[in-house]
Point group: C2
Amino acid sequence: MMNQMARIDTGQEAQMANAIRALAMDAVEAAKSGHPGAPMGMADVAAVLFNRFMKIDPADASWPDRDRFVMSAGHGSMLVYAINHMLGYDDMDMDQLRSFRQLGARTAGHPEYGHAKGIETTTGPLGQGIATAVGMALAERMMNARFGDDLVDHWTYVISGDGCLMEGISHEAIDFAGHQQLGRLILMWDDNGITIDGGTDLSTSTDQQARFAAAGWHVQAVDGHDREAVAAAIEAAREDDRPSLIACKTVIGYGAPNKQGSHDVHGAPLGADEIAAARAHLGWSHPPFEIPQDILDSWRSVSARGAEARSAWQKRLETSPDQGRFNAMLAAPDAAALRSAIRDHTAKLAADRPKVATRKASEMALEVVNATLPNTVGGSADLTGSNNTRSKGMASVTPGDRSGRYVHYGIREHGMAAIMNGIALHGGLVPYGGTFLAFSDYSRPAIRLGALMGVPVVHVMTHDSIGLGEDGPTHQPVEHVAALRAIPNLMVFRPADAAETAESWEIALTAPASPSVLCLSRQNLPAVRLEAGDDNLTRQGAYVLRETEGARDVTLIATGSEVEIALEAADLLAAQGVRAAVVSAPCFELFAARPQAEREAVLGRAPRIGVEALIRQGWDGLILRPGDGFIGMAGFGASAPAPALYRHFGITPERAADLANQLIQGGK
Amino acid sequence: MMNQMARIDTGQEAQMANAIRALAMDAVEAAKSGHPGAPMGMADVAAVLFNRFMKIDPADASWPDRDRFVMSAGHGSMLVYAINHMLGYDDMDMDQLRSFRQLGARTAGHPEYGHAKGIETTTGPLGQGIATAVGMALAERMMNARFGDDLVDHWTYVISGDGCLMEGISHEAIDFAGHQQLGRLILMWDDNGITIDGGTDLSTSTDQQARFAAAGWHVQAVDGHDREAVAAAIEAAREDDRPSLIACKTVIGYGAPNKQGSHDVHGAPLGADEIAAARAHLGWSHPPFEIPQDILDSWRSVSARGAEARSAWQKRLETSPDQGRFNAMLAAPDAAALRSAIRDHTAKLAADRPKVATRKASEMALEVVNATLPNTVGGSADLTGSNNTRSKGMASVTPGDRSGRYVHYGIREHGMAAIMNGIALHGGLVPYGGTFLAFSDYSRPAIRLGALMGVPVVHVMTHDSIGLGEDGPTHQPVEHVAALRAIPNLMVFRPADAAETAESWEIALTAPASPSVLCLSRQNLPAVRLEAGDDNLTRQGAYVLRETEGARDVTLIATGSEVEIALEAADLLAAQGVRAAVVSAPCFELFAARPQAEREAVLGRAPRIGVEALIRQGWDGLILRPGDGFIGMAGFGASAPAPALYRHFGITPERAADLANQLIQGGK
């Protein structure tokens, strides 16, 4: 075990902790903004965790079998930066700490995944760090079930504050982790009794230890400044098969003699006087941004220990019969194999022309996807039969058997999205999960964080319009697609038929650094792509599905279930001698990235009409001209069978044809 | 006490429950969609609750001192409709039940507030019903603290399913209710062990009773089909000062002999054969949609009891010295008084021209608002000092003293928004609450539900752009305003200075049926409205802040903190001999509602440039022409001081002026 070091020099470890405190004070002071309270309060816990337990190698920050550390209380980012500097990550020199919170520095206000090595996930939006860590811990056990202890044997440690535990997502994450018995997850709660408004007793009376115990966790409580007690608790946590809470009673801003223990140290610089007093109080005589070599050496010995472990692991990997399979799991999805499999599938679709809901088409695509890619992991927030997310033979991931590929996330949309981020960040597995599109609002904070991090997760969102019918306006998305299209670096697909659905899956699964949302219909839709072809047309974002003979009189642009309506409108218009082209636009983001000339060619010079059973917002890239029109929703939906709703809200071929004639007349 | 009826005829009460079951089966069958499982499973609990406890008068459905009933498991809407029909609500005749889930019927798939009397809140998005009920129970105690038991003395009852308890928001609500010791709240959990994917053991192992106890709740467990046990538990719950959980062990779809207890009865019609079998099993021989008179009479006696209670209450009100004050609290905010007070305030602002952040301006406005309106209730999700939501002298609402006007919602944005919905729905109090705009994503599901219901709640969202600076991209809204503007029936304000902020408050607080979001800056902004006037210009949505002498060469349209930039750009352009008008557009929704001619006059014929430090999406109503331009964000922000970020992302007067010159050239 990592902790069986011959002898712990607690005096030295105390200085390792004080080094975190000093750097946090100094960097916040230099930035004139930031949060010294949490790093100073949890410095002892962090020093013990890293000094005695963490298995990491800064020389290979992405080593698959490293322990994961998540600072869920992301405002305490200086704890991470201070530690990563002292561990010797080569991108975290002292200038980075001096530039804390400045433009271009790796040391952002909150830890940003991808900005610097050793940051396992972006944190800051409270509670999500815990749920993301749950995903990492689940992925670890799932990979362990596939490759055994020799290759996969690591821990996920989380530091969270009171805020994380008040947020609703913490409940979803804790409940899920307890159910799945994720014993490799250890949560250290910075129990300092302080929030921004004042004492936690202003707003909560929950017995957190009892709460975690109720969720099936192993629970301990320690003095967070008693390092031996902390070490013993981590040790005991590692011996237990359940996920563990260690409630660490701490003093926020520990070491600042006049301000510690109050919310004054939470989120503001201490000031020169208090920093001087803290230095005296802690016996820390070193100048700002200077760490004595012996303390640096102690931190570096953590890294040396990790390097040894990595080297041993590397040897095991190289002699393992599973080496090829392991590396394949860790690699990006095999784009060529997927392209080939999807092409075969769409060729078959072009022949069969099935009339199915795109949620069903998604299931058909997943049969191909999951047979082709070994590491996809499906799931749903308790809507498996509605989201059609489970392809044949996908076994459930259960506490007793993690070899399966299907996760029952429970009725926890936000937790699911964050857990999927964690699975993807862990590596080795490619998660997708389903819920109703209306409940993308519940998942939204984690979808956004995934987009910010550039984590390729696929959110399967079915029941994507009033077309879901009777469940009514609470369940009918009207603004959700617009709201999702608004999130940067998120690809939003709304495929029109089985072929576009399969193509959307291909793109989503091979996107290197973007999450995707697939918006899928509940109701059946006809095949609109009638020809097989080598190209993935969805990759163009929007393309001409039906061209006119001769110059266009009008172009109808539609997505998803409304492509059928646009085609029928074009038929009506043809009968009137009006030439209407139809463009299918399954992904606005991909289309926006195409060259201007190509976009203009697709959209044409004739009047354009957008058709989407959703609000108009977000269409301005396609119909941004005074003579253009839109047919869709202007407000909330209603409860009724889908055909009645389409008629009621005037989203019909007849109305599209009428509008086309009006616009054509108006343009003359 | 309501329950001291001389004698309970349990045989008759059993029939009252079976009547719910029969109507639920029949309506779902007629609609060919819906959820019979929950109404049938909870029919006994509901029959006991209404027959022995509920204090309601269908002849006056909005009687302020009625008990509130919330069906948090909204998919079980037929339980509500069946009961409300039998209680005799005059808008719920049998034709409504026959038209379940059909276009135009009051009997939507999920209970919709405002569609029919006796529906206290819209439910369906799981978990929110609990949080909304918490708001109602809080409002009841706050009103009780103001008016005493004679006028305010009622209960809030909730039925929730497993889904509600898995959702994160349930944690926020339960934690808050336990802390606030909301003893008037009784939650009856439909503990049927079934979710859509199968048994609850697929995804949860939480000991719910222990969980609620940890949050400070009174906890009981009963057989949900043992009506005497249910009655005794409700009785005991009412005797306890804490909020109460009654875990009701039930069989989902109870009474359907072949399908009960399985997820097959959750969300699909039973079918004719199973309905026939259930009728036989339950001894219910009556035809579909027919309730025998004696059973109707029993339900009507609940209403008669309520009518008596209301009559007695009415007499107490009429003889109360508090009558005037009580009625004033219940009435809509006094628009004339508020207009006058805000006008005085803005006149003073025009003289003082303070350079303050709009979050600070909001606090200044709140000093006026809270002195003028007696029933505003402020609060924050633990960001009081950052959101500036607490005006002078606002005492905290605590478990021991509910006479205050300020609520510490804790770090629970979603819960806060739903609790505010509940406070507003309860009546008598006008809630507003603050968090960071980036975390509107956390609140979003409840903001949407408030918009769908038309509940006037004010969401105070500060730190509304990259202008917040160092906290970085997790905390910097770029797409949030667009995403909020996408929600129907939501007013989104982004005021430019203290005057517009005050005007926004006035509009938000007097909106009869729309929630509002106030997007406020962290950074200081100069006064841009330099003249006092009688009119609330923000009510126009967008207005000409600076007109040109002679024809406009360009119109700069900006919101919030970017109005300053637009004005400076106009100055730069003026120095170049270019005539630039500046339009401030604090509320797109209000502007969209103005007559077309007025909008065209404001926006002008010259090229237009939108300036907003956010994404462009949503601006197409203002700059929808090929020759127009936009200056804003194209992706996520970064961590740095605000001025550095504005320069980095090119949101500057110089860039706006350059773009103006380009567009003017391009148009020539």
